[in-house]
Amino acid sequence: MFFGKGQVYFALILTSFLFPFESLQSQSLVSSIDAEFLWSKLRGESQVSKPQAQSVVVGTYRLGLGSLIGSECKMYPSDSLYFGVSGRRCGSLKAALKSFARFTAERDLLTRWPSQIINDRHIHFLDLPKSCKWFE
């Protein structure tokens, strides 16, 4: 053994500065109270305008498959809820494609997502279906 335990710990502490927690330090924290307010407003607006097929699809998923596999979604709102509201606002096809894009890009999005919230004692990444533009 070349190094003692103490030396290894010391080296680990020193080198830990080379790998800062970038995702936690550099992203801006958004008020979760504001986020909840904006989200409930979007949900309310879309429910008033069109209670449609997306609700059935999302409801079925959440009660069936979703409850079985559990939700590990890091985004806020979750992908299924995003699809539901986005579908009522922008149409099913666009919502499906945007939700798919959101779901598959989650891993890369999280390292550089502009706004974080603390919800349910966990950090989540805020992405509200405010716009119907393809890339927003």
Binding site: Q27, D34, F100, A105, L109, R112
Partner: protein, 250 residues
């Protein structure tokens, strides 16, 4: 009981207004818009001085705008303000941030507003800057930094993703690139194989999934570009906004 009574006495005499004002200001600065709104409303309808009530009303205006409640914000501007100077400031705020149509603004404010709305087009924004006082080139530098930080063109990256995974890999998003390539390869190949073996129903199903993964991959690349641009430029954007509109944002 004694403490509660004292609080009521202090509140009715307006002693708690100043700490509440400081708290509201701190909440506003930490982007807690809804809490700022609630606290400012309490201050405004309490026994505070006219200056404090007017300032609280201005905080309400700023927080409403942050929450995207622009119609309510406009209604607030139109109401009665305890202080004339704050009312003027609120009117200016409304003309700059809440109203889109041509509004009566001085030349300097018009230029600032135009510069802000064209901030992502450096040359257009710079042309507005020519007639704008810019101490030590601060605004120009911020504008340059902002445009420099927004590195990716969403439409270009999306275009590159016509070849699955290429747009994502240009941005260094290897996980998304790999997943896009894998899903498109899988469903594209499955569709082809089903079709080749005359299995039309599975071929249609697989083809439908393939079209979602293919177009979804293009959308994904565009969204990643937008998110990255926003993330990389948020500090510069905030600084530019503050620098341009300091008088009405403080």
């Amino acid at each position: 009981m004694m403490a509660i009574s004292l609080i009521f006495v202090f509140q009715s005499l307006g002693f708690l207004c100043e700490p509440a004002m400081l708290e509201a200001e701190a909440l506003l600065k930490s982007n807690q818009s809804l809490l700022t709104y609630n606290l400012s409303t309490d201050i405004e309808f309490n026994r505070c001085s006219a200056r404090q009530r007017s300032r609280a009303r201005y905080f309400r205006l700023l927080s409403l705008h942050e929450l995207g409640e622009n119609r309510d914000a406009l209604r607030l501007v139109e109401g009665v303000w305890p202080s004339e100077s704050d009312h003027k400031k609120a009117l200016l705020f409304a003309r700059v941030f809440l109203l889109d149509e041509p509004t009566p603004l001085s030349q300097v404010w018009k230029l600032r507003k135009n510069l802000w709305s064209n901030r992502y087009e450096f040359l257009t924004a710079e042309s507005h800057l020519l007639n704008l006082p810019d101490k030590d080139g601060e605004i120009r530098n911020l504008l340059r930094d902002l445009n420099h930080a927004r590195r990716y063109s969403p439409s270009l990256v999306a275009g590159l993703s016509l070849i699955p995974g290429l747009g994502q890999s240009v941005m260094g998003d290897w996980s998304s690139a790999g997943l896009s390539l894998l899903l498109n390869g899988l469903f594209g190949y499955a569709t082809y194989e089903f079709y080749r073996k005359d299995l039309y129903a599975p071929s249609v199903i697989s083809g439908t999934i393939f079209s979602i993964t293919y177009v979804g991959g293009i959308v994904q690349a565009g969204r990643l570009a937008v998110a990255k641009n926003k993330f990389d430029s948020q500090a510069e954007e905030k600084a530019l906004r503050q620098s341009l509109f300091r008088e009405i944002l403080d």
